[in-house]
Point group: C2
Chain length 105, copies 2
């Protein structure tokens, strides 16, 4: 079996921001402003684009509460949930080994 | 906690080949020719370079059996083993969802 499958996973969560966004959406419906606060350092424009792509790939669902001022939140779909579950171990490995890897680079 | 850690993990296994190489080294010491066969489609020159980098980062250990003709094999270090363990879920997610994701792209 030549395939490792990571190429498929990274075709959805590739790039700097998507893993972070998904990682911080594990706790249920989260408002746009709260996602931006948690992810840190991402511009509003980039976050809108990343979220739009994740919704288009059925990883997230966007819910507009039809209020004024507008309230919109994002939630992992069941499909997105399985991806985050597979992503978390690699995130945690990175956190646990951040210093060690930094010394090596 | 802003960090998700995937950036650290990908600093070691980023790129097309390294995840595949590590994925196929789960079964113990593996000879260069066998790695090349399992990974499929990688040139000798590129595989030598990728393996050298993984040895330099203490993910693999290279063992030269001092024989003629030369026999060299590669084995995951304990450190490399923890990385592969964290990598496998994302690889398997990719394999399980390859068709579904292909339809979306």
């Amino acid at each position: 079996m030549t395939q490792c499958g990571l190429d498929v996973s990274l075709s959805i969560i590739g790039g700097k921001w998507k893993p972070l966004i998904l990682y911080h959406l594990q706790d249920g419906p989260t408002r746009f402003s709260e996602i931006r606060r948690r992810v840190g350092g991402i511009s509003e424009k980039v976050l809108i684009q990343q979220l739009r792509e994740l919704v288009a790939m059925n990883v997230l669902v966007r819910h507009d509460h039809q209020q004024v001022p507008p309230v919109v939140d994002y939630t992992l779909t069941p499909f997105g949930g399985t991806l985050v579950q597979a992503l978390v171990p690699l995130c945690e490995w990175g956190n646990q080994n951040r210093a060690r890897v930094a010394d090596m680079l």
